[in-house]
Every structure is written in structure tokens, then in C-alpha cells.
Symmetry: C2
Subunit: 468 residues, 2 copies
């Protein structure tokens, strides 16, 4: 047995790639194509009913770009796959040396906006595609989903509880990270708590209750171990009977000068049950005991619970957030937008496939806001243009070296909250899509029209664009 | 920066757990509950329209159980979370010492059947829950999904292409592994290819074509580098024009005594285009050039393509298989079924929540087959009962030591193919569910009825079951 996490470390991420990146690069190498090119990471479209994305994953992308390499074991493996020696020698010395611009983590972004812009020798820029997409897909998908859940909770706490159904180890870690960015209070994942300094939360499972002959004994044993931080799961047999027993424990704790933190509901009609349990607790002067609810929650169910006046103080949200279950991927892609011609000039290029056009040239995104900072519209422009609005893409790497002060996770979380607050409410509706205005600058529009004409006429890439 | 895969190694998996496992265990420890207990991993229900699961992930579960531990850094972190010193000292020496039974990877299984049965001191058995569920969820979900895709392809090759949208690093690796188990031909993921010895496949991206002024130049450059293994992506500008150019390259290769492997379509109406491209290739005597299709495929689209007579020889299947997009989780759970009473006797127990009952006692699953080995029905029985049929659960670990010869990945794949062949066709339909018969033995039925009565009457766990 090689180990159940065999090869999953930073040393080996060079091969964490689709094979075609390597075959393309081998052909670039073989055909002596070393000129720089520019690629954009962007998302093609919104999932149904959503109006924005929250960008996340940049820190891990930069960590990868700083360290990506190919070991002797990698090149030995690639040799067996038929790659030739000269290319393998190139890989052995591989280092990423490009320039990278990106929007900060926690930014609110929209389809077609460049999120990461990479300019590097085309072999380097191509090789990194798969890792970038994998990382941005997972974290941006989850930050976006979690920001919707947090929005639905309207200020009540949301804790990320999905570890058991998230897709493997890295997903377990990155879902905790990106849902924390989006405003979750914490996670159940202890390793993520340690690795990222995220607050960790947890209560007890039904098995704990069932391992005692009587529910009350289980409650008492737990309160005995955690007198200052016990939340009791009350629905193993009957939720109201469970709540009654929780009041007994609460009173016992009061005699010791302690307070029961809360009770947890994990099944049944959470709205009705929470109301009944609240009355029951309040009748015993236990207004301070919070009601924590979990079980198949997402933004839609939380919103429904809020609308029916459920007496729930905090939500544990698992599977449906941790897998983004209603849309478990985003259409994030990495597209070539600029190459260099034989004269050493950068030439904007675009793809003109059926319904899959791309935006040519090196670009910047400008955000126009009102006097209070609220978002009005975005403009995608060429990078060397002037435009109204604030530029979103900042330089994060130059010649392969980090030029960006990585913010702390708490700083990212704080700025994410500020960003989402500046997004007008209509774009945050849970079930109806509103189109946030994203325009192209006149120069970019002209470039697109011009290239379309050239490609259609000649089926070649324009090498003398009128504007750039 | 701590590293983008910080703490994701076997050394640290002790903390890859929901906090509540640790709080429960701390309370067990505090209350001196060290008796053995038995837990079952099982799946509560099938996703809509599906009729079976293919089990995967056991090898990683066993690797974890053999190595799980708590480091000084872990206990230092837990100390800050308020865990007491005696429990931390216990964790410092933690080793899993239990007995484990499991069904082999690649088995066809059904709801409520125990897939992994753990008997261990209750603290140990509880602590491992989250990792087991996370691992079985991902791999069983993907093996099941991939087996449907392979079934739809009716003997044509399927290659796993989803790395960029799979949920992080571990998912990228484990999706390649479990879809290979289920019959995929290989993966695009090079690291998975190296780690698991899975065949790797890849062609080229649109960016490669676009980086050349003319599509034909791009094709020629690629064929130059890989004369014996070139597949050309022909839909960057116009698929039929692309196919024409591919025939030129094929003829150039023929002059060198080489053969073009194939062309790839990644957009548009794959059925119509593939037919047109086939005619075009055949007209140039290029019957040997295969047509490879990709782009938003899953079992439903592949089935539709097959039904409309698409001329596709192999399928690249990405996002929708790699995220199990139509149902990105399975309802896999881990439930206590047996504890030990004060007299040292094992007592079967069950959970009786709203629609969430569990099966009590230590159990075995027997599969009844016809003379040809085809599956007829399963019987869930008590472990010490005799039953007709073949037992599915085998001992894999005793006192924390592996007692099982881990099969090679290719052996698992071979037995998975044999297993799926023995499942009658009606259970393999893609859109309609057929209920495979899973019965309870009479003794188990009686035990359930008896415990239900006792719980309802007394709301306690029966400590003197009539039968076991």
C-alpha cells in the first residue's frame, strides 16, 4: 500500500494536471515556441437563479505557482509515457517565471470577467491550467454557495458541518476555508480549524445518546464533561421529551453556577419543533438556552424556516453547502487571449466556436460604484485603457515572484463581508436572477468586431490588430 | 504561507474529523466508557432513478485505520479548545485496535446493507466516523456514477476527463481511481496515472490551435511531435473544415508510415457532426481514424448519442461524472448497532427517529444468486445466523491489524466488471429505478420488532434482547 494520500503534497503538484497540458507543451517545446502569451481565468456563466460569484482560492494558486516543479520520479514516469528527453530535461529545470494579476479573494465577480490573468512563456502558462481551474472552481463555488446560505440566515450564525460528504480530504479543508471567507462562523472540521485558525464547533451524535440506557444519563454525562459548553442533541427518540430532559440538565448546571449553551434539533419539522421547544425552554426560565438546528439545510430551507417564524438561533449546514449540491461546479475556464507574433509584438486573439466566444487581449475590470460605494456596474476594458471605476485586478506576481501581501484569512473574510454589503439586494435574491451590468469598453468592443471579421474571412488569427 | 496543502498528509488525519467526535470521545473517556461497540457504515437511500451502488474506498479506509494517531501539535491545539489533560494523554497514545468487516471494493450494494462493520472500544469506533464517511462517500458515489457512464457507452471507451472541476486535490486523485474501478479506460490526471498506475490520455486544447496562425500549422506541429499518437481537436473554428485539415495531416503521416490516431469533437451537435466527419474521413480512406467526443457528457447524453447513431468511438467524460453532478453526495451514514452492557454482554440497539430507523445488532449480508451467478436477492441477517446465499462482508482487520490481502487496482476493476455483469439489466436502466429485493432474516425482523416495542414503551435501550 502506497499510503492513502500517496503523492498528495506540494512536491508532486507538477503532475496534478491533465495529460494534454503536457502533450501541448511538449509540442510547443519541440516546435521552439517559447514566446510569452496571456491567459485569463474566467467563469463563463452563472448557475440558474444566481447573480454573482464570490472569488476564492487565490492563496493556494499562488502557493502552487511559487513551488510547481517536476521531480526525477515525474520525468521517469513521463519517459515511460513516450515524452522525449529534451523536453524532460526542460521539465527537470521548470520554474514558473510569469506575471500574474488577480482579483483579491472575497471579491464579488461576474461572468466573463478575468479573475486571474497570467502572462508567461506559453509553455509555462499552459502547464498551470489544470491546477488553477481545479482550485478556483472548488473555492469560488463554495464561497459563493456559502455567501447565499449566510445571507439567508440574516445575521444568525451558520456553521459549516459538511465534512463527511465533501469530496475528499482537500475539499474538506478548502470548503471550511472558503465558507469561512463567505461569512460562516466556523466549521466542524478540526484539522481545518488548526490549519487555518477557523473556530471549530460540534455537539454530539445520536450514537452518543444511544450508547447510554437512558437519554437523560447521556445528557448528564456530556454536561459533566463540558459543563460550560454543552449543547444537547434532543431528537434521538422524541424531541419534546428530549427538550424536557435538557431542562433538567440546565437546572442541574444552574445549581453549579453553569449554563447550558443550547439544544440541537436534527430531524423532523424544524419550524414547528423549534417553536414548541422554545416555549418549553422559556417556561422553565431558560431563555438563554439557544436552539441550534441542522439536517439537510441550505439557503432555501433556511429562508423558508425564517419565513415561518422558526425559533432557531444558529444553523449547522452540511452536505448541500459543502458540495454545492444544486450546482456542484462552476463553468470556470482558462483561455488564451494574447500571443506574440514573429516581430515580438503582442497580438490579441479570440476563440470563435459555437456559443463559446472569448474576449481578446490583455484586460482589466473596472467597477463603478455610487457615492456610498455600492456597486453599479462593471466595465471590462483593455489593460492599457483608461476607464471610469476602480480596477479590480491587482498585480500578485512578477517574474514568478510573489509581489502581493497575502491577507490573513480573517482579513479576507472581513473584506468579503464588506463587498457583499455593497452588492445591491436584488443581486442577492436566492431564487431569481438579476443581470448585473457588465459592459465592454468601446476599444474592446471594436477589437472583438474586428477579430470576428478577420477570423470569419480568413480563419486565421489576426496578427495586425488595429487596436490594443 | 503555510503551504497550500498544509496538514494534508497521513500524519494529520487524526484531526480530519468533526469536532463532535472528539467531544463525544472526551465524554466517554471522562465517564469511563471503554466498552466495545459495533457501528455500521451503510447508505440510507438511492438517488432518484438509480438502483444500485458500486462500493469503493476501502483501501484508503484501511490505510487510515492502520495509521491514525494524534501528534503533539494536535493535542496542543485541542488543549486550546478546552479538552482536559487526561483525555489528551489518552489521545497521545491512541491507536485503532478494533475488528473490521467490509465488502470488497467493486461490490454491487444496496441501501441499508452494512458495507463496513467496526467493532472496537466505543471511543475508537466513534473517533473514526468522519474519515470513513468522507472516504466512502466520495469513492462509492463516483464508482457508481462512472459505472452508469460506462454502461451507457456499451463497450466504447470512456476516459475520465474531469480533473479541473473535481473538488480539490484528493477528489482529483480519487475520482480517477474510482472511475477506473468502475470500468473507465483511463484518466487525464497524470499524477493519478503515476500514483495508481492508471492509463493516462490527453490530446490538445483550443488554445494550442489558437496559438498558431493557421489551424493546419497547429495540427502539423502536434503531429510532428507525436507522429504515432496524435489526436487532433478539430472544432476550434469549424468542425468540418477542421476535419478536412485533419485528413491532410493523416495523409502526410501515411507517407511517413504513420497513422493519425483520431480527431476530437468538443462542441456543437456531436451526433450530426460525428456522422459528417465520419463520412469525410471515410471518403479519404481514413476508416482507421477514430472519432473522440467530449463536452458536457454524462450517461444520459452518451445514451442519447448512441440512440441517434452518432459515429463516436470513444468518450471523454468530465465534470458531470467527476462531481456526480446530478447527485453530488450519497446518504452514507455510520450508526451504532451494538453496545456492551454492565455484564459484559453485547446488546443490539437501534435508533427510532422520524423515518430514520436503523438495523440493530451485528449483521452480515447474504447474496442469493441463480445457477449462473446472477444476483437474485440479498438477505440482511444477524452475523451469527446461518442463511442461504454467499456472505458479502469479509474480515479485513483484527485488533487493528490488516488481515486482508489488498487486491490490486486492476483486480478490483476486473471483479467490479464481473459483479456488474451479474446484476440483472433492469437494475442498470439509467432513468428508471427498479427495487432490488433486500430482505431481513426472520431473526433480524423479530429483533427489530422487539426493540421497537421496548423503545416505544420505555424509551430506553433494551438490555436483554430475546434474540441475537
Amino acid at each position: 500500500m502506497k499510503g492513502f494520500l500517496a503523492y498528495q503534497n506540494e512536491e508532486n503538484m507538477g503532475l496534478f494536471t491533465d495529460l494534454y497540458e503536457l502533450t501541448m507543451c511538449a509540442s510547443y517545446f519541440d516546435n521552439k515556441k517559447f514566446e510569452p502569451a496571456t491567459f485569463d481565468v474566467f467563469i463563463r456563466r452563472l448557475p440558474p437563479g444566481r447573480s454573482y460569484f464570490m472569488f476564492a482560492g487565490l492563496e493556494q494558486v499562488l502557493g502552487y505557482l511559487e513551488s510547481v516543479k517536476f521531480t526525477k520520479e515525474h520525468t521517469a514516469y513521463l519517459r515511460k509515457q513516450g515524452f522525449d528527453e529534451k523536453f524532460l530535461a526542460y521539465l527537470q529545470d521548470f520554474k514558473f517565471t510569469g506575471d500574474v494579476f488577480a482579483v483579491p479573494e472575497g471579491s464579488i465577480v461576474f461572468p466573463n470577467e478575468p479573475l486571474i490573468r497570467v502572462t508567461a512563456p506559453i509553455i509555462e502558462a499552459q502547464l498551470i491550467e489544470t491546477f488553477l481551474l481545479n482550485t478556483v472552481n472548488l473555492q469560488t463555488m463554495i464561497a459563493t454557495k456559502a455567501s447565499r446560505v449566510v445571507y439567508a440566515a440574516k445575521g444568525k450564525s451558520v456553521v459549516e458541518f459538511g465534512l463527511r460528504r465533501e469530496h475528499g480530504i482537500d475539499a474538506g479543508m478548502k470548503v471550511a476555508r472558503s465558507s469561512y471567507i463567505a461569512g460562516c462562523q466556523g466549521t466542524s472540521n478540526v484539522l481545518a480549524g488548526m490549519a487555518y485558525e477557523i473556530p471549530v464547533y460540534g455537539t454530539m451524535a445520536h450514537s452518543f445518546i444511544m450508547s447510554y440506557e437512558k437519554e437523560l444519563d447521556a445528557f448528564r454525562a456530556f454536561a459533566n464533561t463540558f459543563p460550560a459548553k454543552a449543547t444537547l442533541l434532543i431528537d434521538t427518540y422524541d424531541d419534546k421529551a428530549g427538550a424536557q430532559k435538557a431542562t433538567i440538565i440546565a437546572k442541574e448546571l444552574e445549581k453549579k453556577g453553569m449554563k447550558l449553551i443550547g439544544v440541537r434539533l436534527d430531524s423532523g419539522d424544524l419550524a414547528d419543533t423549534s417553536k414548541a421547544v422554545r416555549i418549553l425552554l422559556d417556561a422553565k426560565d431558560l431563555g438563554y438556552v439557544i436552539i441550534f438546528a441542522s439536517g439537510d439545510l441550505d439557503e432555501y430551507k433556511i429562508s423558508e424556516l425564517q419565513n415561518t417564524g422558526a425559533k432557531i438561533d444558529a444553523f449547522g449546514v452540511g452536505t448541500k453547502m459543502g458540495t454545492s449540491a444544486d450546482y456542484p461546479y462552476i463553468d470556470v475556464i482558462y483561455k488564451l487571449c494574447e500571443t506574440m507574433n514573429g516581430k515580438g509584438e503582442f497580438c490579441p486573439i479570440m476563440k470563435l466556436s459555437k456559443n463559446k466566444n472569448t474576449l481578446p487581449g490583455r484586460k482589466q475590470v473596472y467597477r463603478v460604484t455610487d457615492a456610498k460605494g455600492n456597486y453599479i456596474n462593471d466595465i471590462i476594458a483593455l489593460a492599457n485603457e483608461q476607464s471610469k471605476g476602480e480596477p479590480l485586478l491587482v498585480k500578485v506576481m512578477e517574474n514568478g515572484k510573489l509581489t502581493y501581501n497575502l491577507p490573513s484569512l480573517n482579513d479576507i473574510r472581513t473584506s468579503a463581508a464588506a463587498n457583499i454589503a455593497k452588492l445591491p439586494a436584488k443581486y442577492k435574491q436566492l431564487t431569481s436572477h438579476s443581470q448585473y451590468p457588465v459592459e465592454l469598453s468601446q476599444a474592446l468592443e471594436d477589437l472583438v468586431a474586428n477579430l470576428k471579421r478577420k477570423i470569419t474571412e480568413n480563419e486565421i488569427i489576426a496578427d495586425q490588430p488595429e487596436k490594443q
